[in-house]
């Protein structure tokens, strides 16, 4: 295998196994890339795409399997520097660029051309070299532009230039269009085709089926950590990819996938023609008492933005929100006082206060009910509330003084939910409720949401986990590019249908 004749495969992974001390994330995955192809890697959330990429780029190490890159065996103790040296580059959205520096400075960081015989950077030469590259590819950039002043799409092209200057032969792009406009995406596709023409292999990870369909020479589909299929040429159709990704037919006993029409109940929240520049476009819907309304859509489709606008975190430009029959202009404080609860998308960054106790985390959302008018907190009331939250949600360990940062992901999430449950809750917003949560805690979370809905709480659930979305929702609204593109109100909805709507294939295909 490791002879010196160059095969037409740039990368060949065989039998890759990976477990993070427990659940098997990848098992016996084969993944190969030809030279100069555009190869899409697709799968549902949790299918193992990111882990596979992390193994190839050396961010994490595999447990078993072999990797051959460009004729070289890649050892198990692979790391990021080694993968860069081999010519593997990951195009991040903007993370790896240094703000405040110019395009040229970023491209040539740590490999700046020096003045002959001197330890000083030859700025003129560096700018000229960068400009030459920019012109070669016809990018809309100047070598002396400061990164901060560039829109996301152009920062991406700087990333690509940086990879090119590193002589990368493999570029990995993870959801590169999630924050681009249609026009910017088109331009990116042109660049990707140009890279292909240069003989560079591009791995393209996307949930957007039409992009995958347009661009890819081959498609690798992963599901539950296993290789499902590799499609080529004519075999690549959006409907087929979605079928392979979901991979199972609906069975009779999955009755909880059935929508429940609760639209005859009292309206709790009504959103009318809500718009926010670049995020939301004319969104209208009603939410009823005891209803669980699911929001499907791809990353960047505006679901989180919609929730944030309703809760009062971000402002909106046009439209109206009605709460319990009255016009409502939200602020976070008002929302909490009016019976809202909000479980944000990123638990560590937005949900928990890791350095303080369970009591502290739960108390802070309930200061109004545990303190006297003079502003003194009743330690007894606070502890009592915390105990209630701990026992209703089965938080472990059941010790109110335990630091939340030391809890498992599932228990941290229970704390974030728990602080709202002990209030007079009318409307709960949960954004990605079970990311990084173990299976047991996941099921408990679902039961909690079911119970709240029975108690009459209106719930809005945002989830990219399709089985979760169909499992929980009485009704599903699918957003795409800030608009409501589809609403599922009755009967049985399949994950496939939701994904097709989210991908923009609204009515097409057989089924």
């Amino acid at each position: 295998m490791s002879n010196n004749v160059k095969s037409d495969l740039l990368l060949e992974c065989r039998g890759i196994d990976k477990n993070y001390n427990g659940p098997q994330v990848l098992s016996k995955v084969d993944f190969s890339l030809r030279r100069g192809e555009i190869h899409a890697l697709v799968g549902e959330n949790g299918a193992g795409k990111s882990t596979l990429i992390k193994i190839v780029t050396g961010i994490t190490n595999r447990n078993a399997g072999t990797i051959v890159f460009d004729g070289h065996d890649v050892p198990v103790e692979h790391n990021k520097n080694a993968s860069e040296k081999l010519g593997i580059a990951v195009i991040y959205q903007e993370l790896s660029l240094i703000h405040g520096m110019t395009v040229a400075q970023n491209i040539f960081l740590t490999k700046e051309p020096l003045l002959p015989g001197l330890p000083f950077i030859d700025i003129k030469k560096m700018n000229a070299m960068a400009q030459e590259m920019i012109e070669k590819y016809g990018f809309d950039l100047k070598a002396t532009d400061i990164i901060d002043k560039l829109p996301i799409a152009q920062r991406q092209t700087v990333e690509i230039l940086k990879a090119l200057s590193n002589k990368a032969s493999l570029m990995i792009m993870d959801e590169p269009t999630s924050s681009l406009t249609a026009k910017e995406s088109e331009r990116l596709f042109k660049i990707i085709r140009m890279l292909k023409a240069e003989g560079i292999t591009v791995v393209y990870i996307s949930h957007r089926m039409e992009e995958v369909y347009d661009l890819s020479d081959r498609v690798t589909v992963l599901r539950d950590g296993k290789l499902v299929s590799v499609l080529e040429g004519e075999e690549i159709t959006p409907a087929e990819i979605i079928r392979l990704m979901i991979g199972r037919e609906l069975t009779e006993d999955e009755s909880h996938h059935k929508m429940v029409d609760k639209r005859d109940r009292e309206v709790v929240l009504e959103v009318k023609n809500l718009s926010a520049e670049g995020k939301l476009n004319d969104v209208s819907f009603k939410l009823h008492k005891g209803e669980v309304l699911g929001f499907g859509g791809l990353v960047g489709s505006g679901r989180t933005e919609l929730m944030r606008a309703i809760y009062g975190i971000d402002a909106f430009d046009a439209g109206e929100i009605m709460y319990l029959g009255k016009t409502y202009s939200p602020t976070v404080e008002k929302s909490i006082a009016s019976g809202f609860g909000f479980v944000p998308e990123e638990r560590r960054l937005q949900g928990i206060m890791g350095g303080i106790s369970i009591t502290g985390n739960i108390g802070i959302a309930n200061l109004d009910s545990i303190s006297s008018p003079a502003g003194f907190v009743s330690r007894d009331k606070e502890l009592e509330r915390t105990q209630t939250a701990i026992s209703t949600l089965n938080i472990k360990p059941a010790n109110p003084d335990h630091l939340v940062g030391n809890l498992s992901g599932g228990n941290q999430q229970k704390v974030v939910v728990g602080k709202w449950l002990i209030r007079d809750l009318k409307l709960l917003i949960v954004d990605e409720p079970t990311v990084g949560v173990d299976i047991g805690a996941k099921e408990e979370m679902y039961q909690t949401i079911d119970r709240l809905s029975r108690e009459g709480v209106a719930v809005m659930v945002v989830s990219s986990d399709l089985p979760e979305l169909t499992r929980l929702s009485d009704r599903i609204i699918v957003l795409r590019k800030g608009r409501i593109i589809k609403e599922f109100t009755e009967g049985v909805v399949t994950e496939e249908e939701v994904l097709r709507a989210a991908s923009g294939i609204v009515e097409g295909g057989a089924k």
């Binding site: 206060m353 350095g355 303080i356 502290g360 907190v377 003084d401």
Partner: protein, 333 residues
């Protein structure tokens, strides 16, 4: 049993500090027979008072993840202003103190507003305040050491005694108790801790971080003003250089007392013990007739050691890793 151990755990930091303090006292009493005398101990407590008073308010900024470097300049200016109001403008001493407190609160409020609304880091804002407040103090006092001879009741604040104990010590303990209650028992205290622990999470849970921070810097300036008034009365002097460098002692006391500069936790009682320790260290150096140049050296070392301890890293482990590195690299080859 459970509540008892929880209580013990909650005050672990304070207890450990108290242990260190006792150890320090034992060492100092062995080194110098002048240490364990009533005179000397009163002396230490007295000098600790000013730092102690300042820490009771200054501690809130670190708890939110910020810092207040302007407290010493604020204190010096407060003494000078109070003297101007009483002895130049002839105001009643109580009125003079109240006006000075309002000015102090206004300056703290301004620090808070610039930090939160104009997004300038607290470090820079309060360093600028330290500089311009010192300038104003020099300007108002002409740079002179002004001796304060009257009014007599004002001077009693610093030099008076009640039941044989100096009044500043009462002031300090009152403020420590108030500050402890404010931090541990009130809504404001909870919000302050939440802002320092995770500002975004706090905001999504209904806390207004800007409002909280503005109050924090206002409190910090008010206690600095109180310390300045006590200092002017105690030293019978209004002088712009009177508190020079005190902000470092205040931060040392807070850090030694177990408050993390990263925010999210803090102990007023710990900071008081920290202030006493700083006082003892300086006192010890005096008793040993060490040149005054050793004071800042000792303070600097104490800050570093306290910070390293608060980071919770194991020093032996770090050293082991450090020294093992070249060997390990060779072995890998």
């Amino acid at each position: 049993m459970n509540t008892k151990s929880a209580l013990f755990k909650e005050h672990m930091v304070e207890l450990r500090l108290f242990g260190v303090l006792l150890g320090l006292m034992v060492v100092l009493s062995l080194i110098s027979d002048r240490f364990l005398t009533v005179d000397n101990l009163t002396n230490v407590l007295w000098s600790v008072c000013l730092i102690g008073i300042m820490t009771t308010g200054a501690i809130y900024a670190p708890i939110t993840g910020g810092i207040d470097l302007s407290v010493a300049s604020m204190a010096a200016l407060a003494g000078i202003l109070a003297n101007v109001f009483m002895n130049t403008l002839g105001m009643n001493w109580i009125v003079a103190i109240l006006i000075t407190l309002v000015i102090g609160a206004g300056i703290g409020w301004l620090n808070g507003v610039v930090t939160t609304k104009f997004l300038v880091p607290a470090f820079i804002v309060t360093m600028a305040a330290k500089t311009y407040l010192f300038g104003v103090a020099m300007l108002v006092s002409n740079g002179d050491q002004i001796t304060i001879m009257e009014p007599a009741p004002f001077l009693q604040i610093g030099i008076g005694k009640l039941l044989g104990i100096p009044i500043p010590i009462y002031i300090m303990f009152t403020l420590v108790i108030l500050s402890h209650i404010l931090l541990k028992k009130t809504v404001f205290g909870r919000r302050t801790i939440a802002v320092g622990a995770n500002e975004v999470a706090a905001k999504l849970t209904g806390v207004n971080p800007d409002r909280t921070r503005i109050i924090v810097y206002t409190i910090s300036s008010v206690t600095a003003t109180i310390a300045g008034i006590v200092m002017a009365s105690l030293t019978q002097q209004a002088y712009a250089m009177n508190a020079t460098g005190y902000e470092l002692d205040v931060i040392t006391a807070i850090v030694v007392g177990g408050t993390s500069l990263m925010g999210g936790s803090g102990s007023v009682v710990g900071a008081l013990i920290g202030a006493v320790m700083v006082g003892f260290i300086n006192n010890g150096l005096n008793l040993l007739d060490m040149p005054s140049a050793f004071h800042p050296i000792a303070t600097g070392i104490v800050i570093l050691v306290a910070l390293i301890m608060n980071q919770g890293v194991s020093v032996p482990a770090v050293l082991k890793k450090w020294f093992a590195r070249p060997g390990a690299a060779e072995a890998a080859k």
